[in-house]
Every structure is written in structure tokens, then in C-alpha cells.
């Protein structure tokens, strides 16, 4: 492995396009599967009769008691299954993209990197299945009435899920173990097809499992009064929150998967013994960070869509999430997202040292950092806190006169979108750092790009301040779409302009491996923050069902049918995060061990053999 500049890895457009294609194919597959089941189900009179049964209404004594909190037990197991499931489903997506890039460029290093990424996914796969099995057993043991109801609603769809799981396992093992046997020529096409099938099946698994979750939050295909299942499987699956959650989880999984393999690369970089290894893992870490942050940038938009649909479905749910006790967890979410953005940006800034051309752009870092820090401070500012009577008197009201306005959504939206734009700017500067643009219209291109940044930032601030504070609520909410589109405008025009301007550009020397160890700790920070974030916000999403197993149709009468204290939530979320990270270290160790080969023991160093000879 040479530490030179032949490690290009900016393939953002292709990655996103392919990811989108896989999602579309999978949604079609899920629809087709559901339609088949609909036909079969409609012909089955017995099933139709059973579907008229009302939702169960178990009493407290009906819930098995095993001596520990059932909810806490299921919470941890479900969370672990979700972490590993996200990793296992996400890694093959970008592995396939990297493999395609390697195939098109005939560069074996891409192929080797993709294969190494798959090694991590493969080790995690068995753990995912183990937690999945444990979760199913726990649910049937501890919540039998709920599971009976869910089985009635989803019927044989769960067997389709099981069949898909078998298919996923077979494809995964063939894809990984057949890598070197199907490496060149027409065989490579076969391998790429296997990769595509693997991702299609994996994403179908994801959307099928998502339908169970969204059914519990916003049930469809049931009688609202009794909970009796009156719709076909497609109507049960396609609730109002299904597609928003599908998109949100798909993007989030890719960001999470990229962060986890980035930590693996950092682990290998720090323990590398020679410059070649360092160069390889530095490149691998950079690619992982690129994938992770690139997927992370559109994630807030998907999150907004999900929350908007939750509000549209039930204002009570929406207000509980963002305006009640759970709103405090959104403040912690802000801290974690800012950690991700700061770590991702810091990694890019330190990585600019790999190229001497980066000196041209270093001046911008301090301004980007300033915006990120200010955005972070605005985002974590709460609207109000619990004051004493004396404090309220001193303040002159329940809200701080200066900081109070920063606690509501318009201010936070401005902060979030400016931070996203700044993160994209860091990416753009990094990509330009090793290039000298030579197109004749470069002055026009640069002026246009700078203008787009300036006007977009002004537009985001204008929309947030004017519509957020000086017009009615409807315009306030609607103006957030202006902010979203302004951010998207910057990202899309940045990618397009750079692609055109890089034509014929002179490439400067990049020394891979020439990066500080500190930057690698930023790569460790990413998966830690992502894991915590997923655990935290996953809890918020599921907790807004309050005392319902299935919202408004099947009540939760178990001893745990209350929203726990924030302290308990913090402890549980942290416990799940620490457990996952411990398992992750185990996976890294196993992946490392599989590449270790013991040297033969020399006779001179082996007393037994030496004695035998004598």
C-alpha cells in the first residue's frame, strides 16, 4: 500500500443515487409482498372472522413477573438488536458502492477496503441474530397478549420476514466468502449482483420490521373503537408513520454504519506498525468519515418529516415529545448532534494537513468553528427551566429576557441549518485542498459559489427571525421549509459546481498516514455519539405512546405503564450505549484476530523440541 495521492474517495453522488435506488426497489418489493398476502388473506374466511376479535385488554395480574422490570429488560435487548441490526444492514450498502468504484476504476485498494468493511459486518451479524432471537423470546414471555395481537394483525407476514432473514444470511455469507473467488471479469458482475440482492433483502427486512414499530405508534387497518383488525396486511403495514420512519432509519443506519467502521479504521491506524498500514487505515478512516457525515447531512430533513407526521397524526404525541417532559431529551440530542458535527469537522480540518494545498483555506477554519460553537450554544439553550420564586422575580417572568427567544424552534432551526452549511463548507474546502482549478471560468464559479453561501445564510437567518418571531404560527412553521431548501440548494450547487470546476484540475500530492493521532479520537467520538443518540431518540419515539402498547387501541396495564424519570432514562440509555460499545470492541478484536497468523515455533526456542532433538 503506497502512501500517495491515489486514494480518491469522493463519490458522493453515486453513493446517494444507489442508496436511493435500493430503497425504491425495496419499497416496491414490500408492496408486492403485501399485495400477495392481501389476496390470500381475503379468501380466508377463518382469518376474516378472527380479525373481528377486539384488541386484548390484559390486566396487571395477566403480565408475567420474573422479578425484574420487564420493560427495562426488553428495552436493553431491543436496543442492542437495533444497534447491531442497523450496523449489519448499513455496511453492505456502502460496501457495494465502494466495490463498484473499485470495479470501474480497476483499483484493487477499493476492493480490499470494501472486503475489510464486510468483515466487521459479518462478525456483527451473528450477534444481531442472537439479540433478535432473545428479543422475540422475551416479548412472547413478558408481553404475551401484545404479541398475540401483533401476530393477529401481521399474520403470515412474520413468516415472510423469517424467510427473508434466511435469504439475507445466505446472501451475506456468499457475498463475503465468495469475494476473492468472484473478483474479476464476468464473475465480478455476479458478485456485484449478489451485493445488490443482499441490500435489497436487507432493506426489505428493515421496512418490514419498521411496520411493526409504526403500527404500535399509529395503528392502521384496525377498528379505532375496538382494535379489531379489519384491514388487509398492506393496510396494517402502511400506517402514516411507516415511510417517514423507513427513510429516517435508512439514512441514519448508513451514517451510523460509517461511523462504526471509521472507529475500526482509527483503531487499526493507532495500532499500525508501519507507514503502509498507517496510510491504508488513514484512507479507510477518511472514507468512513466521508460516508458517515455525508449521510448525516440529510438526516435532519428526514427527522423533520417524521416529527411533522407524528404531529399530523396526533398533536398530543407531538407536544409530549417536543413540548413536555421529553423535550429535555431533545436538549441532550442537541449536545450529541453538535458533538458529531464538531468531531466530523475537526477530523476534516486536521486531515487537510495531508495536502500542502490546504494552506490556502486554513484561514476559513476559525470562522467555521465560530459558527459551529455559536450554533451549539443556541441549540442547547432551553426555553425555560424550573426557577425559584426569587429567581422569577429577578428575571421578571418565566423566561430569560435575552436567552428566552433562543429557546424556541426558529432560533434552533437557524443554528441547525447554519451548522449543516458550515459542515458542508468544511467538506468542500477539504475536497479543494489537493486541487488547483484550471478552468477558464474559475472566477465566475468561485464568485457564484461564495454568493450562494452568503445569500443562503442570509435567507436562513431572515426566514427564522422574520417568520419565526414576527408573523403567525402557520408562516413560522412553513418558513422552515425555506431553510431546508436553502441548505439543500447550497449542497447541490456545491457538488455540481465543484464537479464542473474540477475538470482538468491539477492534483497536488496527498500524503496518507500524515495525520495526527488526535484526529483518530474524533473518529472514536462519532460512533459513541451516534450510539447514544440512537438510544436516546429511539426511546423518545417509542415513549410517546405513553400508557398504550398499541396507541389508542390496546392499553398497557403492566406495572411499567408510565414514563420513567429522566434520570432512569439517562441511565438506561447509557447502559445500552456502553454495552454496545463493549460488544463493538469485541468485534474489532475478533476482526483483528482473524487477520493474525502465528509464526511457526523455531526449534531453538521450544524447549520440548530442543530436548527431543538432543
Amino acid at each position: 500500500m503506497r502512501s500517495d495521492s491515489r486514494y480518491p474517495s469522493q463519490r458522493a453522488g453515486r453513493f446517494l443515487l444507489l442508496a436511493l435506488m435500493v430503497l425504491v426497489i425495496d419499497l416496491s418489493l414490500a408492496q408486492a409482498t403485501a399485495a400477495e398476502q392481501l389476496t390470500a388473506g381475503a379468501e380466508n374466511v377463518e382469518v376474516a372472522a378472527a380479525s373481528l376479535l377486539p384488541a386484548p385488554n390484559p390486566q396487571r395480574a395477566d403480565y408475567p413477573n420474573i422479578g425484574v422490570s420487564s420493560r427495562n429488560l426488553v428495552w436493553i435487548i431491543a436496543q442492542m438488536h437495533l444497534f447491531f441490526g442497523a450496523l449489519v444492514l448499513a455496511v453492505p450498502i456502502f460496501v457495494l458502492v465502494i466495490e463498484i468504484i473499485g470495479f470501474r476504476t480497476s483499483d484493487d485498494r477499493y476492493d480490499d477496503m470494501a472486503h475489510e468493511f464486510m468483515k466487521i459486518s459479518l462478525t456483527a451479524y451473528a450477534i444481531t441474530a442472537l439479540f433478535g432471537g432473545t428479543l422475540a423470546l422475551s416479548l412472547f414471555l413478558l408481553y404475551p397478549h401484545l404479541m398475540t395481537y401483533l401476530m393477529r394483525a401481521f399474520g403470515s407476514q412474520v413468516l415472510v420476514y423469517a424467510a427473508l432473514f434466511f435469504l439475507e444470511s445466505m446472501l451475506l455469507y456468499i457475498y463475503y466468502y465468495g469475494w476473492n473467488a468472484l473478483r474479476y471479469g464476468n464473475r465480478k458482475w455476479l458478485h456485484l449482483t449478489l451485493g445488490l440482492l443482499l441490500n435489497a433483502v436487507g432493506t426489505t427486512l428493515l421496512v418490514v420490521a419498521n411496520s411493526w414499530t409504526t403500527f404500535m405508534m399509529a395503528p392502521s387497518g384496525v377498528d379505532p373503537a375496538t382494535g379489531a383488525v379489519i384491514g388487509n396486511i398492506w393496510e396494517v403495514m402502511k400506517g402514516p408513520l411507516w415511510n417517514p420512519l423507513n427513510l429516517h432509519r435508512f439514512i441514519a443506519n448508513v451514517a451510523f454504519g460509517g461511523a462504526v467502521v471509521g472507529a475500526y479504521a482509527a483503531f487499526k491506524f493507532l495500532s499500525a506498525k508501519n507507514p503502509e498500514e498507517k496510510a491504508h487505515y488513514d484512507w479507510m478512516g477518511y472514507s468512513s468519515n466521508f460516508i458517515s457525515i455525508l449521510a448525516f447531512l440529510p438526516l435532519p430533513f428526514a427527522g423533520y418529516w417524521l416529527m411533522a407526521e407524528i404531529y399530523a397524526y396526533s398533536q398530543q404525541m407531538g407536544i409530549l415529545a417536543m413540548g413536555g417532559i421529553l423535550a429535555w431529551l431533545f436538549v441532550i440530542q442537541a449536545v450529541l448532534i453538535c458533538t458529531i458535527l464538531l468531531a466530523g469537522n475537526y477530523y476534516l480540518w486536521t486531515g487537510m494537513g495531508r495536502s500542502e494545498g490546504a494552506e490556502r483555506y486554513r484561514w476559513a477554519i476559525k470562522y467555521i468553528a465560530t459558527v459551529l460553537i455559536l450554533g451549539f450554544l443556541v441549540w442547547v439553550t432551553p426555553h425555560n427551566i424550573i426557577y425559584t420564586a426569587a429567581e422569577i422575580t429577578r428575571l421578571g417572568g418565566g423566561n430569560h429576557p435575552v436567552l428566552g427567544p433562543l429557546g424556541i424552534m426558529p432560533a434552533k432551526n437557524i443554528a441547525v441549518f447554519l451548522m449543516l452549511i458550515c459542515t458542508f463548507l468544511s467538506f468542500q474546502l477539504y475536497r479543494r485542498a489537493d486541487k488547483v482549478i484550471t478552468v477558464s471560468w474559475q472566477n465566475w464559479g468561485n464568485a457564484l459559489m461564495a454568493s450562494i453561501y452568503a445569500v443562503a445564510i442570509a435567507n436562513i437567518i431572515f426566514a427564522g427571525v422574520y417568520y419565526g418571531y414576527f408573523t403567525n404560527t402557520v408562516y413560522k412553521v412553513g418558513s422552515s421549509v425555506i431553510q431546508v431548501m436553502s441548505t439543500v440548494f447550497v449542497i447541490v450547487s456545491g457538488v455540481v459546481l465543484d464537479t464542473l470546476m474540477f475538470k482538468g484540475a491539477k492534483t497536488l500530492h496527498v500524503t496518507w498516514g500524515k495525520v495526527s493521532s488526535r484526529s483518530q479520537y474524533a473518529l472514536f467520538a462519532l460512533p459513541i455519539a451516534f450510539t447514544w443518540l440512537m438510544a436516546l431518540m429511539g426511546y423518545v419515539r417509542t415513549s410517546i405512546r405513553t400508557h398504550w402498547h398499541v396507541y389508542t387501541v390496546m392499553p398497557d396495564n403492566s406495572p411499567d405503564n408510565f414514563i420513567p424519570t429522566l434520570q432512569t432514562v439517562g441511565n438506561m440509555v447509557t447502559l445500552a450505549t456502553l454495552l454496545f460499545l463493549s460488544f463493538l470492541l469485541f468485534i474489532f478484536w475478533i476482526a483483528n484476530l482473524s487477520g493474525t497468523r502465528q509464526l511457526p515455533i523455531a526449534a531453538d526456542n521450544n524447549p520440548a523440541l530442543a530436548g527431543g532433538k538432543a
Binding site: Y467, T471, N472, G478, F489
Partner: protein, 50 residues
């Protein structure tokens, strides 16, 4: 020499002025379009029309 510098400077100013004008127009249209698509029309000065 001096006049050549002046020409270069005025050309740069022109470039930037045109770039900023195009961008301002694009974002103005973006605001109008995005809001009217949501059923929230704006006046020419971007104030709410409803």
C-alpha cells in the same frame, strides 16, 4: 499598467455583482415558490399575503 489593473478590478467587481444578483434572484424565487406551494403566499416584499 495602471489602466490594465483598473480594468481587471472593474471586471472582478462586475463578476461579483452579477453573481450576487443571480443568487439573490434565485433565492427570492425559491422563497416565493416554497411558501406558495404550502398554501402560504407571500407579497412581493416577502411579507405574508394572508
Amino acid at each position: 499598467m495602471g489602466s490594465r489593473t483598473d480594468v481587471g478590478k472593474s471586471r472582478r467587481v462586475m463578476t461579483w455583482a452579477i453573481a450576487i444578483s443571480i443568487t439573490l434572484a434565485a433565492f427570492y424565487l425559491l422563497d416565493q415558490t416554497v411558501m406558495s406551494m404550502q398554501g402560504l403566499p407571500l407579497n412581493w416584499d416577502l411579507s405574508p399575503a394572508q
